[in-house]
Assembly symmetry: C2
């Protein structure tokens, strides 16, 4: 799976700005790849980039149309399909982050085939994987883990990639979820892999590399999330991380989607993730904390980060507010 | 998925007795359900039960033909298919534990449809599952876990079912692997479930029940196995086990399939499994150890079990040699 850019971000008739969260993430992290947005009648989202229809996008040199929007009712409507068909006819590939597959639409499949175009359903792995071997690989790996889902693991990994590349370090973000895959142009939706092959899929995603190269692997779920911890553990073991960054959103009241479950302390979260990681990399250690402090003021955030550093003896950053320099420093 | 018995055990041209391991397990645990074996020319396995062809099996009242044999080259040969087609024509269902699906054989699919028969590919879940909720369920649950794969988790679970039923306790074995599914007549091949849904699948497998009812859930893999630990963790969280039994094979030199990985100590294995289980059931505890002592003499085995009990302060049994009474005692 290698998605070509530049992209046209297809927003359809997104009900609100949140429905275009994925497209927004791609535009934030890869502004140079996003030539425009295509909005249908009734679309309530706006990414603030040029509006383009399919014909204009083809003319502008777009290589792939990204369907990066939560659709209504879970199906791809017929009036979306006709635009996607046209995109194929004009030489563009289509990539979708929806559960429903592009490849389940007969007209679109026919159009892609007739025009030699590719359809990417990034939520669904497009190949089989072997079971993990646990064999040590060359190069270095960092994995973001967390106290919960949706606490900033992707954001932190991408911020580290940006900062490390700025410092001329060798670093590649490795995507494990749909938004990340659009941003990287490749990757594996790890939670859609058959459970037996999760660690093997991660070994495939982050293979042997230069001794001074860092794979920055996007974490998923949490060892403390009753629904998804198994995915997280397979991801940890397959990553064989040299370094872990623990992510947390300050001020959440309970585990995401599970009102009856509380968050672990940062201490417990560090301990359990390092313990798990040591199975496949005995030198694994936690190198920093990434706090999402959006619920408090700048001033409170700075105090909170300082308090966290003092308590844990580790650099604590808010990637959005302070950047990730302090963590990048430790990876030299 | 509810597989009807009695069974005819289809052994094909099994290369040796080991290739018929699954069929053998079914025959050992459900002798009353196994009316006969059907062996083709060149078959080197023998379960010591009556030989029957398809027509004889139909006449004898067989409801399902079990393809419970590791086949050569991974495909279902044409000369097997013709017998399976005939079974459908004579009113029998087919259940297979092979990776290759019965439902990928057009002639067999047609015969099943024409005759209103069912094809069960037990290695592949036949339905979707929700993500786990982590909500407490009624009834009690025991999960077998282990230091490694293939150390006796299914055997121990089945031995407990047998002993508890003998004592008139309410107990049901819940199968999570192919052999177990044939033995239970239903279940879920948990390692073939999409990783996001593993704990949810287990919640489905072992739902609310009577307060004094025990689900005896077949464990898979090990938290210490670099290839499969994620499957194991999802299974633990979905099981919400009140009781854990730790299984181990004495005398193994390394983790199965991973010569570069050593086994954990029983102490570490207990600690990590209980720690993991407490996320979804804070009252989880280890109630006993099941040692597979096949590599040593009866006398040495008894000494080893005694030593293990003294060291850990828990009942230690070899289900095959001593039975599981000592563990069943603790579940009253």
């Amino acid at each position: 799976m290698k998605i070509r850019h530049p992209y046209l971000l297809f927003l359809g008739d997104a009900a609100d700005q949140l429905a275009a969260k994925t497209a927004n993430g791609v535009n934030v992290w890869r502004p140079d790849w996003c030539m425009g947005q295509f909005r249908l009648k009734g679309c309530k989202a706006d990414l603030g980039i040029p509006d383009m229809n399919i014909a204009q996008a083809a003319k502008a040199g777009v290589k792939t149309v990204l369907v990066g929007v939560a659709n209504r009712g879970g199906i791809i409507p017929a009036d979306w399909e006709k635009h996607l068909v046209k995109a194929c006819e004009l030489g563009m590939d289509i990539a979708s982050g929806l559960h429903n597959r592009l490849t389940s639409l007969p007209k679109l499949v026919a159009a892609a085939k007739a025009n030699g175009r590719k359809l990417f359903d990034v939520r669904h792995p497009d190949r089989d994987f072997d079971v993990g071997t646990g064999l040590k690989r060359k190069g270095k790996r960092l994995l973001t883990v967390g106290t919960d889902c949706s606490v900033g693991k992707m954001f932190t990994s991408l911020a580290l990639e940006k900062e490390m590349r700025r410092r001329k370090m060798k670093a590649d973000f490795r995507a494990t979820g749909q938004t990340g895959i659009f941003i990287a142009g490749s990757g594996i939706s790890i939670d859609a892999v058959i459970s037996d092959f999760v660690s093997g899929a991660v070994e495939y995603l982050a293979p042997d590399n230069d001794a001074d190269h860092w794979d920055l692997i996007e974490g998923q779920g949490s060892l403390f999330h009753a629904s998804y911890a198994g995915v997280t553990l397979g991801l940890i073991h397959g990553s064989q991380p040299d370094a872990l960054v623990v992510c947390h959103e300050h001020g959440r009241s309970h585990m995401r989607g599970l009102p009856h479950y509380k968050h672990p302390s940062l201490e417990d979260c560090i301990a359990r993730n390092v313990e798990a990681a040591k199975l496949t990399n005995p030198r694994a250690k936690c190198v920093g904390i990434a706090l999402n402090t959006q619920r408090v003021s700048e001033k409170e955030a700075i105090k909170l980060l300082k308090k966290t550093e003092d308590k844990l003896g580790l650099p604590a950053v808010d990637p959005l507010r302070t950047g990730v320099d302090a963590i990048a420093d430790t990876l030299r």
